[in-house]
Symmetry: C2
DNA sequence: TCGGGTTGGTTTGGTTTTCCAACTCGATTA
DNA sequence: TAATCGAGTTGGAAAACCAAACCAACCCGA
């Protein structure tokens, strides 16, 4: 039986944020850069690509483009609620990098949880609230 | 002062797994596809790109290539411990997609936590173990 | 009024990746 | 002997990417 491509949520998410520079743009928006020039400086991405990524994110409702000055016309980019829900993806990527790919200069941004400690994310089970350890999650059903 | 590109763990992680098809390859390895043909079928990616991605993952120690048959020579790909530590990234991407980009046909794979419930990941604070809610994490220090 | 500087892009022209179909190669099965 | 299978290669076309230059609209100082 001719098996098929697995259409899945990971693939759909990657279609949205999987191309180069997209997640770095989102990172900058999280860190408080909202103007085009800041995003360009801090990501280092080519300006036309960044324009494309911002337009694409806007088209999918992850970002809004807000005019903050009439003359001359100037714009800011902000995450929508949907865009902010990318936070866990960015956070887990940051954690992976911090843990396994650390550079010489330490992390350039630190986060704090409301409990007072420096924030490092771990996955928990939404149902029981317990932190998940290796081997506690199993595939129940993987489609063909 | 001429500000610079922000070197961060997100960027480093994206260098490793940020190009197209890489995370889908990793997804397949998690779901139990270990042979090249399976990976090609289930991801739908071009075979040469998949070869490249597997080699690259191998070079970075995320994947091992194991010969499971002498003649004819046949190989399997498996995640290393380092590779398995990508699980939270895949899981949060899947969750984002499930929640916000659901297809018509429901998720093709389901997971179960050892507590007995269907597994959906949420982020928790490693220090206090509490599930994190919106607004509970703040940027303490973002480098230039 | 002239020349610079700032912001938020777009255009240009070329380089690199990615994509795809078809092909290979050794071994195996029918 | 032919067909098949797994695991790739190969060659050429398409798409994505990139750096640098350009543009528009305004502001500023001399």
């Amino acid at each position: 039986m001719m098996t098929q491509v697995r259409e899945c949520s990971v693939a759909r998410t990657l279609e949205l944020v999987g191309s180069k520079w997209t997640l770095l743009v989102v990172r900058e928006l999280f860190l408080g850069s909202h103007r085009f020039e800041e995003i360009a400086r801090f990501t280092g991405g080519p300006r036309d690509i960044l324009t494309d990524r911002l337009r694409r994110l806007e088209a999918h409702g992850l970002v809004t483009r807000v005019q903050y000055e009439q003359r001359p016309p100037r714009f800011e980019y902000h995450l929508t609620d949907l865009g902010r829900s990318l936070a866990p993806i960015i956070a887990t990527m940051r954690e992976f990098g911090d843990r396994h790919l650390a550079g010489d200069d330490g992390p350039p941004a630190r986060f704090e949880h409301s409990c007072g400690s420096e924030f490092h994310p771990v996955l928990a089970c939404k149902a029981c609230g317990e932190v998940v350890r290796r081997g506690e999650v199993e595939v129940v059903e993987a489609a063909s």
